[in-house]
């Protein structure tokens, strides 16, 4: 249970990471390439790749399409899978709730993080 709580905490931190947040916003409506996100949202390209992989591993992003550029290079387009997220702090307890575009075990469930009572 402890490790689970940590995982959710990591996820909620990922959400408020500046680059991660920009990437999630950028890929909300349409699939975008890493290069495009990096250019448009002013994220250094290496950091952009790293964050995108982090978000992909955490189930926040998915490679929606692989396109071939005119130069013959293949390029992955990513789309956000996160519909909504809520972090609530009440009476000394942190809780998070996520809603994803696909079936995920934590969809719509309030997850209690370590609170003042247990910490």
């Amino acid at each position: 249970m402890g490790t689970d709580a940590m995982r959710e905490k990591d996820i909620s931190r990922l959400l408020t990471d500046e680059y991660a947040e920009r990437i999630l916003v950028a890929t909300q409506a349409n699939p975008r390439s890493v290069q495009e996100i990096s250019d448009k949202h002013d994220i250094p390209i290496a950091a952009c790749y790293r964050k995108i992989h982090e978000l992909e591993n955490a189930g926040f992003l998915r490679c929606a399409e692989i396109v071939t550029t005119p130069k013959g290079k293949t390029m992955k387009l990513y789309r956000s899978l996160l519909k909504s997220a809520q972090l609530v702090y009440e009476e000394g307890v942190f809780r998070v709730k996520f809603e994803f575009d696909y079936d995920k075990d934590i969809n719509g469930k309030w997850i209690e993080l370590n609170g003042a009572r247990t910490a």
Binding site: L24, A29, S84, Q86, Y89, E90, G92, N114, A116
Partner: protein, 133 residues
């Protein structure tokens, strides 16, 4: 990315310190900040003690306390004299509730302080049923 701090309602405090919703929510999701908020919840505690109990490096602990204090989320309630004659600040949390919502590609944050003041970041909270669970 162009987030505007929007104030609504009568009880909103005048200044938002120019924080955007992302910065505001980072006050809660940063590991050390979250620990400090929990440590000071309904308690008066010194930086030293927080550092020891929650495993936060002392310099980082002082720095985060300063940040939280400037944001109005914790406050120094007492300066006591230690046995060695040193002054020690005791802090307590002023944060009653906090809500951070990410929806439709937008991030919003709301802090409710113990004083009853409400601070909103990132736009309109009207009509949001916070307690719909």
């Amino acid at each position: 990315m162009g987030f505007e701090s929007v104030e609504n309602g009568g009880s909103v405090s005048p200044e938002n310190d120019g924080m955007n919703p992302l910065q505001a929510s980072q006050l809660l999701t940063d590991e050390y900040s979250a620990k400090i908020l929990l440590a000071t919840y309904k308690r008066r505690i010194s930086a030293q003690e927080i550092s020891l109990r929650y495993g936060i490096p002392i310099a980082a602990c002082y720095r985060k306390i300063r940040t939280l204090e400037e944001a109005g989320l914790i406050t120094c309630v007492d300066r006591i004299l230690t046995q060695k004659g040193k002054r020690k600040n005791l802090y307590t949390s002023c944060l009653k509730n906090a809500y951070i919502f990410f929806e439709n590609g937008r991030l919003r944050a709301r802090f409710q302080l113990a004083t009853g003041a409400v601070r909103d970041f990132g736009g309109d909270w009207n009509g949001v049923d916070l307690l719909k669970q």
